[in-house]
């Protein structure tokens, strides 16, 4: 089939937008990462790889943010995937209850991140918050915590909020994946006397691999890029325990006026996300099974 050259015109707007909003900023950030630009002045100097050297050897907080990001990502990826899959299995059938549950599970995703941060800051408030009050009410007062003020657990409290906020989105992907599995396979499993767990293990999960790949990769990227919730709920504190790379970049660029250094961290950050995503896709694709 011969494709008319004019068809390339249709790609042009998209390519143009991609160039303006992705390629140009990326190249610019790379350029500025080799400078000492403060973000305000009209001049700067090239500093070679100084910014990168500082990030890897002379910046304790940056290394801490990477650790915090990894903790946050691991908790979010594991539990968000699990929760979204569990919700998807619950709402798979189209009954009145499941339609209501779908709406309920999806509801948090329509909120703005600032609203979510406000709601959960209130939930977590150590004295006025409903979480501690509920624990007290049901006799589990010993589990009451300073959820966002305790440096040991604050990052996990934020992870729970992130999961609540985004699990509904992942639910949609899993539901689509589950609906694409042929009913015949379940019928065969039933005829052969497979238990529900065996059916899930040998039929559902392998055929959900493409959806799971998307969910896990997307959740990884999303949790690495998390900014709004952390910024609004803890601002990186206490004592940098919830400082993640994105909030740190903001601090460096817009509070410390070290735009060149912030660009270098951004470039490193982009490479880390790209690498993890690539490895995930590779690992998860090799697990795919076809029937």
């Amino acid at each position: 089939m011969k494709i008319s050259k004019s068809i390339y015109l249709f790609f042009l707007p998209g390519l143009l937008l991609y160039a303006i909003f992705f390629i140009y900023p990326t190249v610019s950030a790379l350029f500025y990462s080799f400078t000492d630009w403060d973000g305000l002045s009209s001049s700067f100097q090239f500093v070679g790889i100084d910014n990168y050297e500082r990030a890897f050897t002379g910046d304790t907080i940056f290394r801490k943010t990477i650790g915090n990001n990894l903790k946050f990502m691991l908790v979010v990826v594991v539990f968000q995937t699990f929760v979204a899959l569990a919700f998807a299995l619950v709402v798979l059938k189209n009954t009145k209850t499941t339609i209501f549950l779908r709406a309920l599970y999806f509801f948090p995703t329509i909120l703005s991140s600032v609203s979510v941060a406000f709601i959960w800051s209130f939930i977590y408030d150590p004295s006025l918050g409903i979480l501690n009050q509920t624990l007290e009410l049901v006799g589990l007062g010993s589990l009451a915590q300073n959820w966002l003020g305790n440096a040991d657990i604050a990052i996990y409290s934020l992870a729970v909020t992130q999961i609540w906020f985004h699990a509904g989105q992942m639910l949609i992907i899993f539901v689509a994946g589950l609906q694409s599995i042929p009913d015949e396979l379940y019928e065969v499993a039933k005829i052969e006397g497979a238990t529900k767990w065996q059916t899930f293990r040998n039929v559902t999960w392998p055929l959900l691999a493409p959806s799971a790949t998307i969910v896990i990769a997307y959740t990884t990227i999303q949790s690495f890029k998390a900014f709004d919730l952390v910024f609004a709920m803890t601002g990186g504190g206490p004592n940098n325990s919830t400082e993640i790379v994105a909030t740190y970049i903001f601090d460096i660029a817009f509070r410390s006026y070290q735009f060149g250094y912030a660009s270098a961290i951004s470039v490193i950050f982009m490479i880390i996300i790209a690498t993890i995503t690539f490895l995930q896709f590779k690992a998860l694709r090799s697990d795919r099974i076809s029937y």
Binding site: P25, P238, N240
Partner: protein, 419 residues
């Protein structure tokens, strides 16, 4: 050194890499005026002042029909992230505002402040309160508001319990013990947000009376592991251990801490004078005043409190409408206009001859010239990363760390970020 005209595009670059980081903005425009009038742009971050500033702008435009003012208000984080960068090409922010400290230094280094030395309106301000807007003998900005960053206390409660304002650390602890015995938390500390930023000032003011201590810290002549800062951290630890600040203080938000004081569960709010009107909105029966803990013995106390001259008015050096911008600042610095602004916003001002009408402003105005206050030490840290390290050490101690260990960890960060 090279000059590049495409620098502003770099902002877009990092901004887009940080996709999702942008906050929401609110803005307001006042564009009334004659068609041939010159429109100036006024940018700042105080959304809560919108109504009174709209009114002031209307009055200004009535008196100056050849000038109209377009006011744009950014949320403070967004103002830092993007607003001030708009100054670079001179198309916006003919009149703009800045914070003292790191932001002032950065804008000054970028040469975006017009030198206001020699302008008539400078004499409308209290000369002792505008030095924070000076650099290299130039008057780059004129602080408009005068804030006292020290605890607000329930004076009525103190009177009822027969308590005097403590003049030493020993007396402070005795007062705090009495409050505790009466079932009252001495200090509501909003550790989840602005608590450490504000309370560190009064906690350290007499432990390190040398006003150059943070400059010395930044140039390596001082260390956080020295007596003055370790003692400050030990004092914070004492407040925590004795229950003088509420439990779980690092998880307490500003609103929760204010509620504690408004409900009279706590006697002091560890923030500043800017919260007095909000506290009175929550509980109009409160009788409030200001009081900083004196962390040394009475004979060693040098300062009684903290002041900050902020909301610094400036003219953009890149502007093509500097004369009109200066007219607007001249108008803002008229005593009657400044009085209107002060009374509507509940703020003390740096402008001379302001008449405070509200009871709370009148009752606390004695802090302006009758008390020995020092400029907020935190704003004398001009490197934001070093400021963050200092604040982190407070959070670290309130989280249970040993003061010396916290000081050592923070000093390491200071060393890493020293320029």
């Amino acid at each position: 050194m090279k000059n590049y005209s495409f620098l502003p595009l770099g902002v877009l670059a990092l901004g887009l890499l940080l996709s999702g980081c942008a906050g929401e903005s609110t803005s307001d425009t006042s564009t009334e005026g004659a068609e041939d009038s010159t429109q100036i742009s006024f940018i700042h971050w105080r959304g809560e002042d919108k109504a009174v500033l709209d009114d002031i702008i209307t009055q200004f435009e009535d008196k100056n029909p050849d000038i109209s003012v377009e006011m744009t208000i950014y949320p403070s984080e967004q103002y830092q992230a993007t607003g001030q960068r708009l100054l670079q090409d001179g198309s916006t922010g003919d009149v703009f505002t800045s914070f003292p400290g790191a932001q002032f230094e950065a804008i000054a280094s970028a040469g975006l402040f017009e030198d206001l030395n020699g302008e008539d309106f400078v004499s409308n301000f209290d000369e002792e309160l505008i030095s924070v807007g000076q650099k290299d003998e130039a008057q780059l900005a004129l602080p408009y508001q005068l804030v006292f960053n020290m605890p607000v206390y329930n004076k009525g409660m103190f009177d009822e319990l027969g308590l005097e304002v403590p003049k030493s650390w020993t007396e402070f602890q005795a007062v705090a013990d009495t409050l505790l015995e009466n079932g009252i938390t001495p200090i509501a500390f909003p550790g989840a947000d602005i608590g450490p930023n504000q309370f560190m000032n009064s906690m350290m003011m007499n432990n390190a009376p040398d006003e150059d201590v943070f400059e010395k810290l930044q140039n390596g002549e001082e260390s956080l592991t020295n007596e003055w800062w370790v003692k400050t951290l030990e004092d914070f630890q004492l407040l925590e251990e004795k229950g003088y600040i509420q439990a779980d203080s690092l998880g307490t938000s500003q609103d929760s801490a204010m509620a504690m004081v408004a409900n009279e569960e706590a006697a002091m709010l560890a923030t500043g004078s800017y919260h007095m009107s909000a506290l009175l909105d929550l509980n109009p029966d409160l009788e409030l005043d200001l009081m900083a803990p004196i962390t040394v013995e009475e004979s060693e106390a040098v300062y009684e409190g903290i002041n900050t001259a902020t909301f610094m008015l400036a003219v953009n050096s890149q502007s093509e409408k500097k004369e009109q911008a200066k007219e607007f600042i001249t108008f803002l610095s008229q005593p009657e206009i400044a009085s209107h602004y002060a009374n509507e916003t509940g703020q003390h001002l740096t402008v001379n001859d302001v008449e405070y009408e509200s009871e709370v402003l009148q009752n606390t105005a004695y802090w302006i010239d009758e008390r020995k206050t020092r400029f907020q030490p935190r704003f004398l840290i001009t490197n934001a990363q070093i400021e963050a390290a200092v604040l982190s050490s407070i959070e670290n101690v309130l989280g249970g760390a040993d003061p010396m260990t916290a000081a050592e960890e923070a000093q390491q960060l200071v060393d890493e970020n020293r320029e």
